[in-house]
């Protein structure tokens, strides 16, 4: 998730305006708007300061890089929205069948 998304998410979750967030860290509303649009990328430290000004915190840890869903997403994007939903539903029906079979097998 990009810093622009994190800042927007934190502000909306705390229910404040861009102007109010700017006031809390002594920056203008237009500067906050530029960060949220991704027109300007703030430093990690500034991103953290903005999130904390919203009354939230950003927990961070190093993790193994995982892009295991990326190919599935790319394949889905080649479908229309209705086809994406239909395919997900077909998969879900398959899982339901397996769950029922598993429950039956367990007696």
């Amino acid at each position: 998730m990009l810093s622009a998304d994190l800042i927007r998410e934190a502000r909306l979750r705390s229910g404040i305006t861009q102007a109010e967030l700017g006031r809390r860290i002594n920056r203008s509303q237009s500067q906050v708007a530029r960060w949220e649009r991704g027109a300007v990328t703030p430093s990690f430290e500034t991103t953290l300061e903005l999130i904390r000004a919203c009354g939230l915190d950003l927990w961070y840890e190093l993790a193994v890089y995982d892009d295991s869903y990326v190919e599935d997403v790319r394949r889905n994007l080649a479908l229309s929205p209705a086809e994406r939903l239909a395919e997900a539903d077909e998969l879900e029906r398959g899982y339901e069948h397996l769950r029922r079979a598993g429950v039956a097998a367990l007696g």
Binding site: D5, L12, L85, D89, Y95
Partner: protein, 184 residues
């Protein structure tokens, strides 16, 4: 202001014919009754490329009284009952005054499971979500507003339950791939 999501002709193999998705009757009923709503949760994400599955439909309706009246009519039309874990669905009075006084409803309907949330976690409800929603064309004249991927992520983050958090890696990767595609 709603934007639209890519609904261009599919380039999926023509030989593959998928059945209709199960949430369509619910969406059609809500649209037929003129309900203003935004689809949230997994259905919104799947329509935008998210690769996992779901059974139910989650929606956030506008909370103004006229809209709640229309929602109540749609729920009655769908024979909506309260969904009870491990038990039979329970009939209830689907009246606007009753519906509008409770933040969320989990319903069993003729068209499948329907969850109604007036103010999902991390949001201020319909107007908040509508701002960044995308209009998704589901074919057959059915066009519905769906929460943007970043708002689906916002709600999952704010809800914070293990089942919500488990969906975040796939949601974030979906957003990244969509962004990458938009940049090209």
């Amino acid at each position: 202001m709603s934007s639209s999501v890519d609904t261009s002709t599919s380039d999926a193999p023509a030989s593959r014919r998928l059945a209709e998705f199960r949430q369509r009757p619910l969406l059609e009923a809500l649209v037929r009754h003129g309900v203003d709503f935004v689809v949230i949760g997994a259905v919104a994400a799947i329509a935008q490329g998210y690769p996992l599955t779901t059974r139910d439909l989650d929606v956030t309706p506008a909370a103004e009284p006229g809209n709640v009246e229309r929602l109540a009519a749609a729920i009655r039309d769908l024979d909506g009952k309260l969904r009870v874990t491990g038990g039979d669905p329970v009939p209830f009075p689907a009246e606007a005054a009753f519906l509008g006084n409770v933040q969320s409803w989990t319903l069993d309907t003729r068209g499948g499971d329907l969850d109604v949330l007036f103010e999902p976690a991390g949001t201020r409800g319909y107007d908040d979500l509508k701002t960044d929603a995308v209009d998704v064309d589901l074919g057959g004249g059915l066009v519905v507003a769906m929460a943007s991927l970043r708002d689906v992520i916002r709600m999952k983050e704010a809800a914070g339950r293990p089942k919500d958090r488990a969906q975040l890696p796939a949601l974030r990767q979906t957003l990244e791939v969509v962004r990458e595609r938009e940049r090209r």
